[in-house]
C-alpha cells in the first residue's frame, strides 16, 4: 500500500480554484489551474503564486551552528555572515554524491533556516542529526510552516502593498520580516525558482490560506501550479533534485561547482571533490534545445548511432516554443553547438547543445 498523500494547508484553496491535483513527493499538489502555458506567461509578465508548503523547513541553531553547517554543506557560509542573507548550497555524502540542494538563510544570531526539497525532508533531517554536535539544535518546522512563492516582474509591488509603507524590501538572496495586511507575521525571502524577481513568503501554516487569498485579491496575480514551476525553472537551467541530480552525481559533473567552495577548508565530500576537479568530470550536465518534439525524462540520446545518455529533464518551453532538455553528456560532447540525435518515442529529432539559461531576458536578469 502506498502512503496516503499529504495535503498542504492550501488544499481547499486549490480545489476551489478548480486545480488539477497530482501526487508529488508524497503530497497532493496542483499541477495546473487554467493551463500551464498561461500560468507560465503570467509569471514571466506579471505575477504568479505557487503553493510550496510541501517544502521542508529545518531550523539549525546553537553556538556550533556555523561550524557545523560550514562542514556539512558545500558553499562558504561566511559569505552570509550578515543577518538576513541567504545562499544556495548543497549537502553531499562522503563520496561527494548530492544528498540535496538547499537554500540556507541566516535567519538569526547563531541560527540558520534551511529550505529543502520535500522528498528529502526526512533523509536530510536524519543526515544533519547524525552529524550534528551537542551544541547544535535541529528542529523540523515543516508542518507548522507555510511557504508561498510570489514570482514575476510585479511581485515586489504586490508584497510592498501588503506589507505597508514602512516596509523595505530585502535585497536579492536576503530575507526580511513583514506584517502582511497589518495582521499576519511573515518572513519575506527574496528568492525563487522561476528566473523572475520575486519572493517566497514564510508564515504560520495556519495563516497560509489567508496569505494566499490576500495575494489573489490583486488583479495581476495568477495562481500557478507545478507544471508551470517546472517549465519556468527548466527555461532558466535550474536543477531539479531527482531529475538533474541525485546521490549518484557529484556537483562538478552537475555544473554546480560554483557553490562548492574549496578555499573554506574541509567539508563532507571535499576530498572527493578535489579528485574530481583534478581529473575533470567524465560527464557534464548539458542543456539541449530540441525542435519538432518534446523531450521527456528517459528519452535516449544518440551520438553517431550509439546511445550516450538519456534526457534528465525535458519539457516544452512556452517562451521559446520548442523542446528543452538537460542530460549528462560525456565531457567531449558537452560543447555548445554539438548536435545529437534524441529518440522521442518513434521520432528521431536533433538536440543542439546550448549554454544555460535557455531564456536570458527576465526581470531577474534585468535587475
Amino acid at each position: 500500500m502506498p502512503e496516503p498523500l499529504v495535503r498542504t494547508p492550501l488544499y481547499d484553496e486549490h480545489l476551489a480554484l478548480g486545480a488539477r491535483m497530482v501526487p508529488f513527493a508524497g503530497f497532493e499538489m496542483p499541477v495546473q489551474y487554467e493551463g500551464i502555458i498561461d500560468e507560465h506567461h503570467a509569471v514571466r509578465t506579471r505575477v504568479g503564486i505557487f503553493d510550496v508548503c510541501h517544502m521542508a523547513e529545518l531550523r539549525v541553531f546553537g553556538f556550533g551552528a556555523f561550524d557545523f553547517l560550514q562542514k556539512t554543506l558545500t558553499n562558504d557560509l561566511s559569505k552570509i555572515g550578515q543577518l538576513g542573507r541567504a545562499q544556495y548550497t548543497l549537502m553531499l555524502d562522503d563520496d561527494a554524491g548530492i544528498l540535496d540542494d538547499l537554500i540556507v538563510y541566516h535567519s538569526g544570531d547563531l541560527e540558520y533556516l534551511i529550505i529543502a526539497n520535500a522528498s528529502n525532508r526526512v533523509a536530510d533531517f536524519e543526515w544533519l542529526a547524525a552529524h550534528a554536535p551537542d551544541d547544535v539544535e535541529l528542529v523540523d518546522e515543516s508542518d507548522r510552516t507555510g511557504l508561498i512563492a510570489v514570482q514575476g516582474p510585479q511581485a515586489l509591488a504586490v508584497i510592498a502593498d501588503l506589507a505597508g509603507p514602512e516596509w523595505t524590501a530585502p535585497a536579492r538572496f536576503s530575507l526580511a520580516e513583514a506584517t502582511l495586511d497589518n495582521a499576519i507575521p511573515c518572513l519575506i525571502a527574496r528568492t525563487g525558482y522561476t528566473g523572475e524577481d520575486g519572493v517566497e513568503i514564510l508564515c504560520r501554516a495556519s495563516d497560509a490560506a489567508a496569505v494566499w487569498r490576500l495575494l489573489l485579491s490583486f488583479a495581476q496575480v495568477t495562481p500557478a501550479g507545478l507544471g508551470a514551476r517546472d517549465t519556468l525553472r527548466l527555461e532558466m537551467g535550474y536543477h531539479l533534485y531527482g531529475n538533474d541530480m541525485d546521490r549518484g552525481v557529484d556537483p562538478i559533473s552537475a555544473g554546480l561547482g560554483w557553490v562548492v567552495n574549496a578555499a573554506k577548508g574541509s567539508f563532507v565530500g571535499s576530498s572527493r571533490i578535489a579528485e574530481i576537479r583534478a581529473s575533470g568530470p567524465a560527464r557534464r550536465l548539458s542543456y539541449l534545445r530540441v525542435e519538432g518534439a518534446i523531450p521527456r525524462p528517459g528519452s535516449p540520446i544518440l551520438h553517431e548511432g550509439t546511445e550516450v545518455s538519456k534526457v534528465a529533464s525535458g519539457t516544452f518551453s512556452p517562451t521559446l516554443e520548442c523542446g528543452i532538455a538537460t542530460a549528462y553528456l560525456p565531457s567531449e560532447l558537452a560543447q555548445t553547438g554539438t548536435e545529437l540525435e534524441i529518440t522521442i518515442r518513434k521520432k528521431h529529432v536533433t538536440g543542439r547543445v546550448v549554454s544555460a539559461p535557455f531564456v536570458t531576458s527576465t526581470s531577474l536578469s534585468a535587475s
Partner: protein
C-alpha cells in the same frame, strides 16, 4: 461545455461526425481538457488506410503525450494540416476547427457501435 449531440463518440475520446460515407474525426472536449494545452500533433497522410482501434497519431501537451486511436476503419481522404501550425485549436474548438481527419468509412456498422453524446457524457462522468 458539453458534447454536441450531432455526432458519436469512442471510448478513446474521439468524436465521429458522419456525412454519407465520410466521417470527420476529432477529439472530444473532455479529452482536450484532460490533456491540457496541446503543443504538437502528429497526424497521418491523406491516402493512408486506417483500422479501427489502431493508433493513427499522437497528441502532446506540455505535461503529457497521448496516442490517437482510429474510431473507424477506412481511407483517410483529408487531414487538417492547419493543426500543425496551430495545435492549440484542438483546445479552443475541439468539436469544430480542431477536427483532425476525414475518413471514407469502410463499414458503417462501426459507427453504430459508438456512443451517443448522452452515453459519452455518462461514460466520462464514471471514468
Amino acid at each position: 461545455m458539453s458534447h454536441p449531440s450531432d455526432r458519436v463518440y469512442s471510448k478513446d475520446h474521439e468524436w465521429v461526425m458522419v456525412d454519407g460515407d465520410i466521417a470527420t474525426v476529432g477529439i472530444s472536449h473532455f479529452a482536450q481538457d484532460q490533456l491540457g494545452e496541446v503543443v504538437y500533433i502528429e497526424l497521418p497522410e491523406s491516402g493512408d488506410a486506417i483500422v479501427a482501434g489502431d493508433t493513427f497519431g499522437e497528441i502532446e501537451s506540455v505535461k503529457s503525450v497521448s496516442e490517437l486511436y482510429a474510431p473507424v476503419t477506412g481511407e483517410i481522404i483529408e487531414v487538417n494540416d492547419a493543426l500543425g501550425d496551430s495545435p492549440e485549436t484542438v483546445n479552443s474548438d475541439p468539436h469544430g476547427e480542431g477536427w483532425m481527419l476525414k475518413i471514407r468509412v469502410a463499414d458503417s456498422a462501426q459507427v453504430d457501435d459508438l456512443m451517443s453524446s448522452e452515453e459519452y457524457d455518462a461514460f466520462v462522468t464514471e471514468s
